[in-house]
């Protein structure tokens, strides 16, 4: 059961989920907002690939870059239009706003494209398999792992060694104090949303790559995965999100193998029961962040 295939599978699933969870936590860390519209950034990127690939007939690498940029832009615009005006109001107002943004984007896709799914053109590399060290696996899985390694390294460098990164980490810890040090609140929050959308866009390439199609409700499943992963890993640290993503990937694969066939349909329920237990027994997650109960005012 524990063979090379299982390990590569788990690693690639874990990498994908780690990036997904990281995008959610970037915004949560600073705004304390659980962004329900996060899955829709993924959907928007998927539709961008569909539109540019099918109608504009652009080469696949241009499509992908554009899709990621559009996801980041969408994330930034939602922050500007919807979240910034309600930021100083109650937490509930912000949560309901994110829910409304999610419904808005979903139904905009239904209205302007179609309620049915659309095929997304993908590069041939996504369907090939390679044999590495005696293990055959889809090239897509290896690409996911490579992307995650590159992105996680880049983000670590950004957060550790640039002024912007240090400001963002400080803001996630003590927002008011950070503002007193002269860090502009809007800038930090906007950057958090842009990074969040960027990560959603990157994940979208691989997520859409699995089914080669996109539909208005495609963002819901990744949103749930990001929820679970962040809760398991810890909502107060970026490292926690990454760890949570990998643990989720492992748990998911293990449950898929271990559960008897009659129970496999309850897998989601099991995952969420684990989430609830985690929140009740160890609400800070696997990785404990700093003490942060403060919200943006």
């Amino acid at each position: 059961m524990i063979n090379g295939e299982f390990i590569i599978n788990t690693l690639s699933l874990g990498s994908l989920y780690a990036l997904l969870a990281l995008g959610l936590v970037f915004v949560y860390g600073i705004l304390k907002l659980v962004n329900f519209a996060y899955g829709e950034y993924l959907m928007v990127a998927g539709y961008a690939m569909y539109v540019f690939g099918t109608f504009a007939q652009l080469p696949w690498y241009v499509t992908m870059v554009l899709a990621v940029l559009i996801a980041a832009l969408t994330s930034y615009l939602t922050e500007l239009v919807a979240f910034r005006p309600v930021r100083s109001k109650s937490l509930n107002a912000m949560l309901v706003t994110s829910f409304a943004v999610s419904v808005l984007l979903q139904n905009a896709a239904v209205l302007f494209v179609s309620p049915r799914s659309r095929a997304v053109p993908l590069p041939p590399a996504f369907n090939q398999s390679v044999t590495l060290l005696g293990v055959t696996s889809p090239l897509r899985n290896l690409l996911t792992i490579a992307t995650a390694v590159v992105l996680l390294t880049a983000l670590t460098l950004l957060m550790k060694y640039t002024v912007l990164g240090i400001a963002m980490r400080a803001a996630a810890d003590k927002f008011t104090t950070t503002r007193l040090m002269g860090v502009p609140a809007n800038l930090v929050i906007s950057v958090a949303f842009i990074i969040s959308g960027f990560l959603a866009g990157v994940v979208s390439i691989f997520w859409v790559g699995r089914s080669a199609s996109v539909e208005p409700l495609i963002g819901f499943a990744p949103l749930l995965i990001a929820f679970i992963a962040t809760v398991i890993g810890g909502m107060h640290s970026l490292l926690g999100a990454v760890v949570g993503g990998f643990v989720y990937g492992l748990l998911f694969n293990v449950l898929s193998i271990m559960l008897p066939a009659s129970m496999i349909n309850y897998r989601d329920a099991f995952m969420f029961v684990i989430v609830i237990l985690f929140l009740l027994i160890r609400p800070e997650g696997l990785i404990r962040g700093g003490y942060t109960e403060e919200r943006v005012g």
Binding site: Y28, K32, L33, V34, A82, P85, V86, K89, S90, L91, N92, A93, L95, V96, T97, F99, A100, V101, V103, L104, Q106, N107, A108, A109, V110, L111, P115, P216, F220, L224, F227, I228, V231, M235, N265, Y266, D268, A269, F272, V273, V275, I276, L279, L280, P283, E293
Partner: protein, 356 residues
């Protein structure tokens, strides 16, 4: 708020709630007498929805916690009451895998509705205690996760719910009168609850958790009892809904419907009963109107593509606008009264300006 209450010093908003009940019943009489058949259906549906919104208001409005799980309990009530009220032959036909013990059960609709509510309340009572300890973001995710767990169980447990397939053959019991009566009762119950000792303690815990604890309010306990009560109302509302719609599937108790109920509550103002009622009216009118428009656009061929999702887009835009403009809702956290309305015309005379 006066500490000592008698029938002569009714709490603020009592007259508003009574006026709303009268309006609701007069509306039912008028619609039933003069309007077309379609409108009777819409009004019945509105009354059932209003009952659900008020059940949600009981917990969410008074505790300040977003209750994502609510539709799960509505669904439990719907399934429980439908299983109890439907004839055994119909059940064995419609739900082939149902447990034999459940197939045999049958009772009249009215007790079935109450039992449906009790089942929802019982399940809430079992799972809610630990959940009520959580606030803020963690609480949101937990309650949302609970909704998903309930949904997964509903779609998979086909020995009870017929799985993801439609459960059909439920009696059409909910007439306009039943719905209006239920909504009126709930209006009054929600008002009594809001002004009761439990309601006051819960609102205190919403406004300042630590101050409430300091004066001896057990925050978890008041949240817990209200959650169970709210789930009971939701369960009965779900039962009424099921006995109006007569066939349904688990998708009716999930995220989309949660959004509709939340929108109704937030637009009017979750903190007050008049706000919840106003929101239910406004969103019902808006949704029905936009749906007519969608149907017209699709059938008339004015534009050359089919329009879907317009209703939801407009409702979402309205909700975001309201949240930016008035985050406490149009009516706000206090009950709408005529004197308050008049006072608003001349500013600087409001003795207890809203501080929340």
């Amino acid at each position: 708020m006066s500490a000592k209450k008698s029938i002569f010093t009714a709490p603020a908003g009592r007259s508003t709630v009574l006026a709303l009940i009268v309006l609701l019943i007069v509306g039912a009489v008028l619609v039933n007498t003069f309007a077309e058949f379609v409108w009777i259906g819409i009004y019945t549906y509105f009354c059932v929805t209003l009952m659900m919104v008020l059940g949600l208001q009981m917990f969410m409005g008074n505790s300040g916690i977003l209750n994502w799980t609510y539709l799960g309990f509505v669904g439990i009530g719907a399934y429980a009451s439908s299983i109890l009220s439907t004839a055994p032959q119909l059940k064995s036909m419609g739900v082939p895998n149902m447990y034999p013990a459940l197939v045999q059960l049958q009772m009249p609709v009215l007790p079935a509705l109450i039992v449906g509510g009790l089942v929802a309340a019982a399940i809430a009572a079992i799972i809610a205690w630990p959940l009520m300890r959580l606030s803020d973001a963690v609480g949101v995710i937990t309650l949302f996760a609970t909704l998903i767990v309930i949904h997964v169980v509903m779609t998979q447990w086909d020995n009870v719910t017929n799985g993801p397939r439609t459960f059909f053959g439920v009696q059409a019991f909910t007439s306009i009168w039943v719905a209006a009566a239920a909504a009126s009762l709930t209006l009054f119950a929600a008002h009594l609850f809001r002004e009761s000792s439990l309601g006051l303690r819960l609102r205190a815990s919403r406004d300042d958790r630590h101050a409430a604890m300091a004066v001896g309010v057990s925050v978890v306990a008041v949240r817990y009892f209200t959650f169970v009560l709210s789930s009971f109302v939701g369960g009965v509302g779900g039962g009424l809904w099921a006995h109006y719609i007569t066939s349904f599937s688990p998708t009716s108790f999930y995220v989309v419907e949660t959004f509709v109920l939340l929108t109704m509550l937030v637009i009017g103002g979750a903190g007050s009963i008049s706000g919840a009622t106003f929101g239910a009216v406004a969103i019902t009118v808006m949704r029905e109107g936009l749906r007519q428009l969608e149907g017209y656009l699709n059938n008339s061929g004015v534009i050359n593509f089919e329009v879907y999702g317009l209703t939801e887009v407009m409702v979402a835009v309205l909700l975001i606008t309201i949240l930016i403009w008035r985050p406490d809702g149009i009516i706000g956290g206090r009950e709408f009264t005529l004197s308050r309305f008049r006072r608003k015309r001349s500013p600087n005379q409001d003795p207890e300006a809203e501080t929340a």
